[in-house]
Structure formats: structure tokens, C-alpha cells
């Protein structure tokens, strides 16, 4: 969310400097992504503060944390512009109220499409939005200020000026405002007229009903759509817009009416006239009443705040408190959050509000108390670390490689044939071909790393890696195994013998078995220099020279010895 500094000051009589605000916001409210002379960008990634997706919401917050004064008042139901006006109904049919609990259309006539004035253009550009024309800009300005997305349809493009809100029929299509053709599936919610699709609910309008130079009458839409359904559609179409983001963070009926009222007033300032209004559906917005106890604040924050502090902090943030002792008879309240704070549901949420107003940075450290937990077996972790230390002691360097087989590794192992790929765990949505398959052995990635080092003119590669590999299991979740792999390629002929020597030096509870490795690995190893490792009668690994053909595939012309086995206690 880009907060325009100038615009914010139209809403707040800010009593501190911009720099001070930039310092304070992360301490009290939310992290900051970027600051420029024009805007402060809040880091909203993953955040749950729907209210901060509107400038008015940001204004309330800034007032609470800075002791500044608010410069606007929210309009009451009785003050809305449509009250006591006789207006025509606009034809609206919402087929599924669960998907569109509130749907309003206002008809505004007598508009003239022109470029917006500089003030509007600047407000939008500070907010990261491009100005289009005065009529379209109103919808974006209102969205940024109130957090409620709006959409304006050119009324002359809407068949019979009748809107039908319904789910898509299989195969339906629309060219959206960005010029792309979108195909729909039957869970997508569409805005249509009796003959055609006009827009994707809450995501983007269609080209066919876009406001153009000749537009004089618009149908202005303000709605609340089901966020889950909308998110599904947006994700599938890869279309996350400024509007859709606000829908799935959550909207309120109160804000919707304020925004609609604000937009109509702006259209009237452009010479337009409200001639029709339809409001379909309703949304019961129950006030939440959340119990809050002083002892819980003390125990969770670890600071003995007094009652007055709690009341002051919450009141500043617009929460209403009524004194009510806790079940244990301790001081407490029943707290009602402001209607726009959809993120506050439980006592812990309130405690966070109190704690941040107090200032997390003012909480002093307190050592952990209480009894220590029972000892649990840590032998496995110690074994892993001790083994690493021993290997380093024997002159090996620890390497960590990616858990994927790169295309080079796949090709070099001869794994590109479908038959072999089926042995590998596959990623459904890989970042690239290089990260599509998970490794089933460690040594191929060590060999790939060895090649890179040998090319850098390093003569002696003696490395190990400890990490997990992933084994396909028919009809079950893939198995993860901790493995150790060692690789030596130092230009000598006796790399395997060196590894054998190192292996013996480790004095592990693992036996050498004069048995050739089986399975898909066997063609990858030297025909005579390969043996198995076993533990408790089970084969758990291999010591081998890599077949020179395979090493050559990797680009390595020297002898390569490897060891790899499953680490088990």
C-alpha cells in the first residue's frame, strides 16, 4: 500500500514530521517497504490489516499513534446523498447471494469524459496508479481512500441497462481491460447483461463496457463478493489486481456505503447526476464483543500495565471498552473493536493492540523461568555433527548442494528417459527445469560441484555432504533419508582406496560387503571397483568409483571415487 504523503495530510493534521512518522510506523504498526518524497509504502505482504489498504484506515492509525487530529468525519447513514431522493431502480439480478452478499448499482448521467485535473493525477500517481480519465479515476481515488473497490460500466454498452450477477457457463470468454482474452470455468463469478459478459466480479472489467470518450452515462458498481471464491478465480487467471487484493482482505457494508456516497459526490462535482440506485442484499455486521482481562495482559506481555494505560491505548485506536471483571474477579473489560478492524477477534488480538501502543521496544527482557523439560534422546543429532567433525578432521571439506537434480545431472546420469524419471520425486510447480526433480542420491550433485571446481583449476577435490534424499514409494508419501556422501577426485588412480581408508578410519557400525551395488545405480559405477555397505544385514550404501563414461558426461576426465550411505542409528 503506497500512502501518498500529501493526501494523508488532507485527512490528518499531522503533528510530527514525515521522518518521524516513518520511524514510528514500523515500531507501532507495520513495516515499511519504501519511502520516497511522494509516498510511504507499507509492507502489506501477507498482512491481515484490511483497514490499512485504505487511506482513511491509515489516517485512523496515524492519529492513534501520533496524537494528531483527524480532519474528516465519517458520514452517517442519514447523510448519504441518496437519502430522501426519488430515484429509479436499475435492473439488477444477483443469482447467488452467497457469492455477492451486497451488490449496488448507481446510475449517473450527464458526464463528460476528460483528463483528470493535476491534483487527482498526482494523488493517483503517488498511490502507484495511472490516471485514465476523470470518470474512471473517481473509482480508483475512492478505492484508495476508502478501501472499497468500485467499477464503472458505460451504460450504453449494457444491454437494456440490466445487470445479472451469475457464475460463468463453461467456455465463456471475455477480453478484459488489459487486452487479454480470459476463459472462465463455472465457479467464476461474472458481471453480465442479458446478452454478454461485462466483467469478472471483483477482479477486472471487460473492454466491451469500458468508459470511453463518448461515455455520458455510467452504471457504478459497489459490491462485496465472496473472498474465497474470488481468490480462487484470481489465482487461476493469474490476475491479482489492486481491487481483488482488497476484496480478499475483507470489506464492510459501512465502508461500502461511505465509498459509494463519496464517489457519487465526486461525479456530481464533475457535472453528473444520480438518477438511479439499486441496492441488493444485505450483510449483518454484528458488533464483536471481546472479553479482555488485565491479568492476561500482564502475563502475555510481561509488563504490569495499569488499567488506565490499557483504556487509553485502546480508546485511541477507536475501541470501545466497558468495565467487566474477569471470571476470577480480576479487572477486565468487554471490548468492541471499530467496525473496520476485521483482524481483531480474540483477547490475544486486543493484547497485541495494547502491547504495540505501549511499544514493543519498551518491553524489558526477562529470563526464562520454571522447570526444565525432561531430557529427550539427542543421539541422532549428535551423531550427525560428530561425523561431520570427524570427516573434516580427515581432510574433507563439507559442501551443501541443492536438493534437486539439475538438467545437467539428469542428462549425465541418463535419467532423461521417462523410465528413470519415474524413480524421482517430482515437483508439481517447479520454478524451472533445474528444480523439477528431487535428488535420490547425494553424490551426483557432488560430482557436478566437483566438475565446477576442477574447471577452476582446483586439483584436489575431496568433499562430503550430509543431507536428505527423497525416495519414491508406490502409493505412499515419498521417503526421506539422511545420507552421507563423500567424493574424491584428485588426479590419482586410487580415489576409491582413499575413500575406503577414510571409511575405515570413521570406525562406524557399518560393514563392507563384497557385493556389487544393485538397482538403477549399478550402471553408473565402475564394473569392478564397487562394493556395498551394510548395517544389521541390510544394504545401506555403496563405495565405488564412478564409471568413467558417467564422469565424462559430467565433464570430469579424472577418476572419481564416492561413498554414500544412509545414516541410521
Amino acid at each position: 500500500m503506497k500512502v501518498s504523503k500529501n493526501w494523508l495530510k488532507e485527512l490528518v493534521d499531522l503533528n510530527i514530521s514525515d521522518d518521524e512518522l516513518v520511524r514510528l510506523l514500523p515500531l507501532r504498526t507495520i513495516g515499511i517497504k519504501e519511502v520516497t518524497p511522494d509516498f510511504i509504502e507499507l509492507d502489506m505482504k501477507g498482512y491481515n490489516r484490511a483497514d490499512l489498504l485504505s487511506l482513511r484506515g491509515v489516517a485512523f492509525e496515524v492519529v492513534a499513534i501520533t496524537q494528531s487530529k483527524l480532519k474528516f468525519e465519517e458520514k452517517d447513514t442519514a447523510e448519504f446523498i441518496w437519502v430522501d431522493k426519488s430515484l429509479n431502480e436499475v435492473g439488477v439480478n444477483v443469482e447467488d447471494e452467497d457469492l455477492a452478499p451486497i451488490y449496488c448499482i448507481a446510475k449517473i448521467e450527464g458526464l463528460k469524459v476528460e483528463p483528470s485535473d493535476n491534483n487527482w493525477v498526482k494523488k493517483l500517481s503517488d498511490s502507484g496508479i495511472r490516471s485514465i480519465n476523470n470518470v474512471a479515476d473517481v473509482t480508483n481515488l475512492v478505492m484508495v481512500e476508502y478501501g472499497q473497490p468500485l467499477h464503472a460500466f458505460d451504460a450504453s454498452a449494457v444491454e437494456g441497462e440490466k445487470i445479472v450477477v451469475r457464475t460463468a457457463k463453461e467456455g465463456e470468454e471475455l477480453e478484459t481491460l488489459d487486452g487479454k482474452k480470459r476463459k472462465f470455468s463455472n465457479t467464476d463469478l461474472l458481471i453480465t447483461d442479458p446478452k454478454k459478459v461485462l466483467g469478472i466480479a471483483g477482479i477486472m472489467g471487460g473492454k466491451n463496457s469500458e468508459v470511453s470518450d463518448s461515455t455520458t452515462t455510467i452504471l457504478l458498481e459497489a459490491a462485496i463478493f465472496n473472498p474465497k471464491n474470488l481468490r480462487k478465480t484470481a489465482t487461476r487467471l493469474g490476475l491479482n489486481s489492486e481491487a481483488s487484493k482488497r476484496f480478499y482482505h475483507g470489506l464492510t457494508k459501512k465502508k461500502l456505503y461511505q465509498a459509494l456516497d463519496g464517489a457519487i459526490r465526486m461525479y456530481e462535482s464533475l457535472g453528473g447526476k444520480l438518477t438511479g440506485l439499486t441496492i441488493e442484499g444485505d450483510l449483518e455486521e454484528q458488533e464483536r464483543k471481546i472479553p479482555l482481562g488485565l491479568p492476561k495482559i500482564h502475563s502475555l506481555v510481561g509488563v504490569n500495565l495499569d488499567k488506565d494505560q490499557v483504556e487509553t491505548y485502546l480508546t485511541k485506536l477507536g475501541f470501545k471498552l466497558e468495565k467487566q471483571a474477569t471470571q476470577e474477579g480480576k479487572p477486565g473489560w468487554v471490548v468492541t473493536p471499530p467496525y473496520f478492524r476485521l483482524d481483531v477477534d480474540i483477547e490475544e488480538d486486543l493484547i497485541e493492540e495494547v502491547a504495540r501502543m505501549y511499544g514493543y521496544e519498551n518491553i524489558n527482557a526477562r529470563p526464562l523461568e520454571g522447570v526444565l523439560p525432561e531430557k529427550i534422546d539427542q543421539k541422532f543429532f549428535q551423531t550427525l555433527y560428530n561425523l561431520k567433525v570427524k570427516l573434516a578432521g580427515l581432510g574433507l571439506t563439507e559442501v551443501q548442494t541443492y536438493p534437486y537434480y539439475s538438467t545437467k545431472v539428469l542428462r549425465s546420469l541418463g535419467f532423461l528417459e521417462e523410465d528413470n524419471l519415474k524413480h524421482l520425486v517430482k515437483i508439481q510447480n517447479p520454478i524451472s527445469q533445474e528444480t523439477e526433480y528431487l535428488r535420490m542420491d547425494l553424490w551426483p550433485n557432488l560430482l557436478e560441484a566437483a566438475d565446477k571446481n576442477l574447471r577452476q583449476n582446483i586439483k584436489d577435490v575431496a568433499v562430503f555432504e550430509m543431507g536428505k534424499v527423497f525416495i519414491v514409494q508406490e502409493g505412499d508419501k515419498p521417503k526421506e533419508e539422511y545420507r552421507l556422501a563423500i567424493l574424491i577426485s584428485d588426479g590419482t588412480e586410487n580415489t576409491v582406496l582413499q575413500i575406503l581408508q577414510i571409511f575405515k578410519g570413521l570406525k562406524l557400525d557399518v560393514e563392507i560387503k563384497q557385493e556389487k551395488p544393485q538397482g538403477i545405480g549399478k550402471l553408473l559405477f565402475h564394473p569392478t571397483k564397487a562394493i556395498s555397505l551394510s548395517k544389521d544385514g541390510q544394504i545401506i550404501g555403496v563405495i565405488a568409483e564412478i564409471h568413467p563414461r558417467i564422469a565424462d558426461n559430467f565433464g570430469v576426465g579424472k577418476r572419481v571415487g564416492i561413498l554414500e550411505f544412509v545414516i541410521k542409528l
Partner: protein, 346 residues
């Protein structure tokens, strides 16, 4: 000209055929395609050739060049395959003694750092616990108060495992955080619980000097009666002072994670500018080093713990970032590069 090309072709095809070693093949290759090689030089003589004739000569030359290249490739393979037959005769005496060359070994910087952390926390009663790298949506998301369709899922760009059918625990995925141990750990042990989990995590992320798609994470939980944010501040100071020296300042600030409430970001005063603001800290004066918070009551309930009786804290960070700050490593990708020149500095 055509004749000359044909002559070259016949002569060298035979020479390649007769070559018996890779060395000989390399010599022929140079003779043909080297700086002054026969094929390299040939087009210089096309000047005198008429336009008409060039229509024939050009394609013939290209064809011959390709044929020779292909022949060399095939022959090289043949010679190699021949030598591979030889290795079948090599004997392998597993009891043969060899002298191990003197080498100096090195532990990976992440291993060294993580062990230091594990030991630091062990000394205040935290033990290690491990969770799987391939996990399900239940443990990675749902049990942590991140239901399907929750906007917070955008914080973790997830890699999914292909086609393992419908499962009660949701789709399989590569864990996006080591926090996936919380539900398991809280079900397995009764409070007081002090556990750490350290290991690899995976995200759908494009690589650059500051972003990895495969990275380590450190996570801890502490569940007991009367656990507080003051304890969080203590743990943050405890760790960061040990890692970066006693003079480091540590502060918490509000941050949202769905599995904690209240949630906190943990900053350390920038080590490089001491708070003045510099390139490393993006002019802020503080570096974000960890994420933390009080375990969300929903998360406690999902693990069968009574949030009225117990509270807990969760605290975690990415070791790579700290290792990079400690050692002034500029590019995160070096850690997974396998580059020995880099790794042998540690």
C-alpha cells in the same frame, strides 16, 4: 574447388578412422578446425570462385565440415568406449593400503554457525526436534492457523509434490518453514516444552544475491505457564549478543504471522552503521534478524493444549542471513555453490 573439398574430406575421414587414441583425435581436430586449420582456412580461397559455382561450393563446404565434425565426435566416443572395456580388467583389492594425502578439512559455515546456536540454546534447556522436509498442508499451514484461501498463504510461495492423490492431511509440499514441527512437537510432549528445529526449507523464489529457493531456518518453541513477550525479548538479546557481540541493541516491533498473537519482528541495530543508516540496512539503521511471537491460541488448541492454562512463544530466523552478516558474504548463492575456494576460507 569442389575437388579440393572432396580431397580433404576423403583424406581426413580416413585419418580420423585410423586414429587410435584421444590424443591423436585432438591433433586431427586442431589440424582441421584450429586457428590455421584446413577447414578454417578454406573459405579464404572462395574469393576466386564465380558466383554460379559458389552456389554449389558453399553448401558442399558446410556439409563436409559437419561430416568431419560428426566423424570426430563419433570416433572420440568409440575410443572412449574402447578404453572403458579396458577398465573391466582392473582389479580391486579392498585391503590395499594407500597413503592419504595431507588435506585440511573444513566444515560448512552454516554447519559451524548452526552448531553454535544449538549449543547456546541447549545450555538454557532447549533440545532438538526434527520435522520432515516433505510435509503436508495440515502441518505446514492448517495447524498453524493458515487455512486454505487465507491471504497469508501469499507469504509462503509453496512448491508442491506432484500427484499423490487426495489425502486427509492435504496436498504434499516441500515445507516452507521449520515451523512445521510445532503441531507434532506439542502433541508429542507435555509442557514445559523447550525445543528447537533447524533445517532446510523451500520456496518458489527466483534466485538472486539475496534470495534463495532452498535455505535453512531455525525455529524454537517454549511452552509453559506464564510465558511472556518479555521472555521473547530475553531470547532475542541472548542470541544476538552471543552472535554479534554484547554491544548489539535488540528491539521488537509489531509483525504479523498467523501462528502467533501478538506477533513480533526482531531487529538488531545495524552492525555496519550502528543505527545511522547505510546501504546494508537500507537506510533504516536496523536489520530485521528474526520473527517471533506468542503462540496463537488456535495453534495451541490444534495440538490439544489448553490456551487458558498454557502460553508459549515461537521464535525463528534464517541462519544464512546471520552467517552472511557475520562474515560479510555478499551473495547468498555462494553457500550452496560447492565452490571450494569459498568454502575453504571457513
Amino acid at each position: 574447388m569442389q575437388e579440393k573439398i572432396s580431397e580433404i574430406k576423403v583424406k581426413f575421414l580416413k585419418e580420423i578412422e585410423d586414429a587410435g587414441s584421444l590424443k591423436k583425435i585432438d591433433e586431427i581436430f586442431l589440424e582441421l578446425f584450429g586457428k590455421n586449420g584446413v577447414i578454417t582456412e578454406l573459405p579464404k580461397h572462395f574469393k576466386g570462385v564465380s558466383k554460379e559455382e559458389l552456389k554449389e561450393v558453399g553448401p558442399l563446404f558446410n556439409k563436409t565440415k559437419q561430416e568431419l565434425e560428426e566423424k570426430i565426435r563419433v570416433k572420440r566416443q568409440e575410443v572412449k568406449e574402447e578404453s572403458y572395456k579396458e577398465i573391466e580388467k582392473e582389479s580391486f583389492d579392498i585391503n590395499a593400503k594407500v597413503e592419504l594425502p595431507k588435506r585440511s578439512g573444513h566444515l560448512h559455515p552454516l554447519t559451524q554457525f548452526e552448531q553454535q546456536i544449538v549449543e547456546l540454546f541447549r545450555s538454557i534447556g532447549f533440545q532438538q526436534f526434527e520435522s520432515p522436509e516433505i510435509d503436508d498442508e495440515y502441518n505446514n499451514f492448517e495447524a498453524l492457523n493458515i487455512p486454505e484461501g487465507h491471504p497469508a498463504r501469499d507469504m509462503w510461495d509453496t512448491l508442491y509434490i506432484e500427484g499423490k492423490g487426495e489425502r486427509k492431511e492435504g496436498n504434499l509440499l516441500l515445507r516452507t518453514h521449520t515451523t512445521n514441527f510445532q503441531n507434532r512437537a506439542m502433541k508429542k510432549f507435555k509442557p514445559p516444552i523447550r525445543l528447537v528445529n533447524i533445517g532446510r526449507c523451500f520456496r518458489y523464489e527466483n534466485l538472486d544475491a539475496r534470495h534463495e529457493h532452498t535455505f535453512d531456518q531455525f525455529d524454537l518453541i517454549y511452552i509453559d505457564k506464564e510465558v511472556s513477550m518479555a521472555n521473547l525479548q530475553y531470547l532475542s538479546e541472548y542470541l544476538l549478543k552471543q552472535v554479534f557481540g554484547p554491544e548489539i541493541k535488540v528491539r521488537m516491533r509489531p509483525k504479523y504471522y498467523p501462528f502467533v498473537e501478538p506477533g513480533a519482528g526482531v531487529d538488531g541495530l545495524c552492525l555496519f552503521c550502528k543505527g545511522k543508516g547505510c546501504k546494508v540496512c537500507g537506510g533504516i539503521g536496523w536489520l530485521e534478524l528474526a520473527g517471533a511471537g506468542m503462540v496463537h491460541p488456535f495453534v495451541l488448541k490444534m495440538a490439544g493444549l489448553d490456551p487458558y492454562k498454557y502460553s508459549g512463544l515461537a521464535w525463528g530466523f534464517g541462519p544464512a542471513r546471520m552467517v552472511m552478516l557475520q562474515n560479510q558474504i555478499e551473495d547468498i548463492r555462494l553457500l550452496m555453490s560447492g565452490d571450494l575456494k569459498f568454502l575453504q576460507k571457513f
